[in-house]
């Protein structure tokens, strides 16, 4: 039974040579179905939900990593689900219904990338303050971190009387 489970998982995507993760490319419409199927195959929880911003291609890729506890067969330990979103108004369905462990992860992706998770029970910013970052999503590439730099002014090293 376990062997067929492993092959069923493997049939859904491709194994990445570098780290052995199973990569599944999907669409916004199919995302929840893919997640539900993976959960049935034993992937009990979400490790990370994040995104990668590609402003030149005008897209944000939502990257979900799911994993399992105590695996004894050869199912891949980590599954990576990639979904392309429209950069102007990134909206994705929430995965909290499938994986309750997604709750704070989705809040973080909303906080950092402005991705709206449709149906999330409590979608608020989690790490940043709305007052300071209204409409600003710092992990997008167009947000530039101001660097202080190193500056020297005449007389700085002298002792003050």
């Amino acid at each position: 039974m376990t062997a067929s489970k492993a092959s069923e998982v493997l049939s859904r995507g491709t194994i990445r040579g570098k780290d052995g993760a199973l990569v599944i490319n999907t669409t916004v419409e199919e995302l929840v179905n893919v997640a539900r199927e993976l959960k049935e195959l034993g992937y009990t929880h979400v490790v990370s939900i994040t995104a990668i911003d590609y402003p030149q291609e005008n897209k944000i890729v939502l990257v979900v990593h799911a994993s399992l506890y105590e695996a004894s067969d050869d199912r891949p330990k980590v599954v990576e689900i990639r979904t392309e979103l429209n950069r102007e108004s990134p909206v994705a369905p929430t995965l909290t219904g499938v994986w309750p462990s997604a709750e704070f992860q989705e809040r973080e992706a909303y906080d950092h990338f402005g991705i709206v998770f449709d149906g999330h029970p409590d979608l608020r910013r989690v790490l940043l303050l709305e007052e300071d970052f209204k409409g600003v999503y710092p992990l997008r590439k167009d947000f530039v971190v101001p660097e202080e730099g190193i500056e020297y002014k005449e007389g700085w090293g002298e002792l003050r009387g």
Binding site: K18, I52, K77, P100, E108, V126, L127, F143
Partner: protein, 399 residues
């Protein structure tokens, strides 16, 4: 001085429910706030408000060369610096397609386990002070110093070692380290017995932690809890076994598991893990092979002076080319078992000198859900006991 209008607004909350704000400057740990709704003294709703020490490290890492992310990520949890950064290097090495030489792997594992013991002792101290047991707090923090000194002897630093390099480590094991460790190990083994008398079997402590904050296995799996908190609820999940890295596949150790899932089990879980860590270090020091401590790809870049320092003093200098490291384009993830649980790194390279995207998920961030779902139903007086037993570390969760 005028007070801005929004600071003095009020809002109506449900009748008979008291809204209590704990933090962000509470005496136990600080930099975290909880909004707790109380019915009598029973918690009915807990909303963890995190982010007070958020530094947006993932963004800062995008603006730095690959190697410079180490001192940055270390600051998520400086008390466990080795375990926090090892995952980053494992992922980076997957991108570079290199593996450190065997001796370097053993040195990494030894430092990681020293770091784990020190971190657990810190967590015990916090639990002690949360429960008002200041003797335990002093004892645990004092004994943690032994392992900090041990790490200092190996790395030259007490907490923020920045000890790893892609494909190696910065220093070789110093002479006499084995004896130093043996002394420390025997000391802490003796002390663990003394802790039992003053802390674990102390009836005043027992009543506050036994049967309090019970996390069932089912709930732990559903919420994706990691680390000792999951293992104390019967989830036998340890990255050192699931996806072994460095010297772990060659070493023999147990993964302790408890099934009670209460605050006491979480504490005893960590005590058992300290014993296992001692076992791992003992074995590693014995089985450690001789050889180089840095990958030959970088050893070839060494100048004559750098080679001399490496051979005579066992210190690996950083070759200039390593600053301008350009991993081939692609993505890789790596996981590592830190003292608090699983660290997950996901790195994206576009072939440049800086990461295109560096994602890190810390165990504390994953365990933060417990505050929301585990606390309700218990008394407010249990709050510090449960919080302390979770070994939650705000800077780690906030990143």
């Amino acid at each position: 001085m005028t007070i801005p209008a929004q600071a003095i607004t009020t809002r109506r909350i449900a009748k008979d429910v008291l809204e209590l704000h704990v933090g962000p400057q509470h005496p136990g740990s600080g930099h975290m706030r909880f909004v707790i709704r109380l019915d009598g003294d029973i918690m009915v709703e807990v909303d963890p408000d995190i982010g007070f020490v958020h530094r947006t490290m993932e963004k800062l890492a995008e603006n730095r060369e690959w190697l410079k992310a180490q001192p940055l990520f270390e600051r998520m949890a400086i008390l466990d610096a080795a375990n926090v950064t090892i995952g980053y290097f494992l992922a980076l090495e997957k991108l570079l397609d290199i593996e450190p030489p065997p001796r370097a792997k053993y040195i990494r594992t030894i430092l990681c386990e020293i770091s784990r013991i020190a971190s657990h002792l810190y967590g015990f101290g916090i639990l002690g002070i949360f429960l008002g047991h200041s003797t335990a707090y002093m004892w645990f923090f004092g004994d943690r110093e032994v392992f900090i000194e041990l790490a200092e002897r190996l790395t030259g630093q007490r907490l923020t070692y920045s000890f790893f390099l892609p494909g190696g480590v910065r220093r070789d094991i110093p002479t006499g380290f084995k004896d130093d460790f043996e002394k420390a190990a025997r000391y802490i083994e003796k002390r663990l017995k003394e802790y039992e008398a003053i802390f674990m079997n102390n009836p005043v402590i027992r009543v506050r932690v036994e049967g309090v904050g019970v996390l069932t296995k089912d709930m732990a799996v559903r919420l994706g809890v990691v680390g000792p908190n999951a293992r104390a609820s019967g989830v036998k999940h340890d990255i050192r076994v699931e996806e072994p890295y460095d010297a772990y596949p060659e070493l023999d150790f147990e993964v302790p598991v408890y099934k009670e899932g209460d605050a006491l089990a979480r504490f005893l879980q960590r005590v058992d893990e300290i014993r296992e860590s001692l076992k791992i270090i003992r074995q590693a020091l014995k089985a450690m092979p001789n050889g180089p401590i840095i990958h030959e790809r970088y050893l070839r870049m060494y100048t004559k002076v750098m080679k001399e320092v490496l051979e005579t003093q066992g210190r690996a200098k950083i070759p200039a080319a390593m600053i301008n490291l350009r991993p081939p384009a692609g993505e890789a993830y790596a996981r590592a078992e830190a003292a608090r649980g699983e660290y997950f790194y996901y790195l994206v390279s576009n072939g440049g000198t800086k990461p295109y995207r560096a994602r890190v998920v810390s165990p504390s961030f994953r365990n933060v859900l417990l505050f929301k779902y585990l606390m309700p139903g218990y008394r407010l007086a249990d709050f510090p006991a449960i919080y302390g037993s979770l070994d939650y570390f705000p800077p780690e969760a906030d990143r």
